[in-house]
Symmetry: C2
Subunit: 225 residues, 2 copies
């Protein structure tokens, strides 16, 4: 692998595991066993690495978040989107955890993010409308818009929500993200047509993760002495 | 008013208008026409002011976010909660805009926030269950839990969502927050019993704010020359 790509991969790994703000370019160079000078030859600073990672994330999401053309949508499409969203959240979870701080310190990235978020909103709305056109969801265009907005907020805020309510220092796990996707599906579940209810229930059952994985039950039954 | 209270009120005003991170204790003292020394006599640092503001916010929310006892719930309760949530969001909007950064730099406040969020989740779930018991919502306890979680995320993430997708430097307006509360009501609207549908539609109509107040339509029709 080229050094440039190795830097990107190592940065993603370290950002995800330790949080972006705890990882410096020196850490990344040391992790790869290269000199800081070699790293700076490829990236002038950490912002440039983060921008590149964001572009990869955005390209991935914009790649799959498309309404298919030339055919009606099916419940398999729904399973596909959810799986792809889960993968993106997990693979780039540092972006979801630190989004505000990352955008705060890089106004060019904030502009890029704004464009990405608006594209994602518009695509999500078209996808919900696609499910309506296929008879899977019984919704108006106004509800498709509301679902797209609530869905985007849910997905972008989930990792931080988990971080603020779970025990301090608790690591983000795939199960926690699956619960986030379950919350997303619950947004639309009341709108599903009767003919597709059983299929949706199967999807929900596959995602089922109790909320106690995030917030352990605190007031459990006292043990009998 | 006592100096201590004047400091709190002025800090809230400045934080809300300029963002917490752009306001120092020196700004606050200058705004009040008092010496920095006088301010430090009351608060050792900005963290202490923020903690006090958070306690006031938490006390306000915990005060109204309660299921009434000894009577069934009505649609008037729903209007009451929404109005109170809107007021809290507006009055303490700096907390909503900068939550992560505030908690990041003060671990005692992060612990306090965790407790607040868990209490709010539990209260919200009981309130949704109250609407179910009154026949207003047709939901199971599992759906009440999902609604409470999605509702808390929506409300706490809304101001930051607006900040990341709207035009740079655009101020937060009451209309933007009203749209957030509309999104919250949409979460539960499909679960409303037929008998209460008309009343809910009235509530939704009162909150109606087009999404274009947040993200202006970019691709509007080109004018004919």
């Amino acid at each position: 692998m080229k050094t440039r790509d190795r830097i990107i991969e190592a940065s993603l790994e370290l950002f995800n595991e330790q949080g972006e703000r705890n990882v410096t370019t020196n850490h990344i160079a040391a992790h790869l066993g290269i000199s800081p000078g070699n790293l700076y030859y490829h990236f002038r600073n950490k912002h440039e690495i983060i921008s590149e990672l964001f572009e990869r994330y955005a390209a991935q999401v914009e790649g799959f978040l498309q309404r298919p053309t030339g055919r009606g949508m099916t419940m398999d499409d729904k399973a596909f989107y959810l799986e792809a969203l889960l993968q993106g959240m997990w693979q780039y979870r540092f972006i979801h955890r630190d989004l505000e701080q990352i955008l705060e310190s890089d106004s060019a990235l904030a502009t890029r993010y704004r464009q990405f978020a608006r594209t994602a909103l518009s695509s999500a709305q078209q996808i919900y409308q696609g499910f309506a056109d296929a008879g899977i969801l019984r919704i108006t265009p106004a509800i498709a818009e509301t679902l797209a907005i609530n869905g985007l907020i849910m997905l972008t805020a989930w990792v931080r929500f988990v971080a603020t309510v779970s025990e301090p220092g608790q690591a983000i796990t795939p199960a926690m993200l699956r619960r986030g996707v379950l919350q997303l599906v619950q947004l639309e579940s009341p709108w599903v047509s009767d003919a597709y209810r059983a299929e949706l229930d199967q999807l929900l059952a596959r995602l089922d993760v109790p909320f106690a994985v995030i917030v352990p039950k605190i007031n459990s039954e006292p043990e009998m002495a």
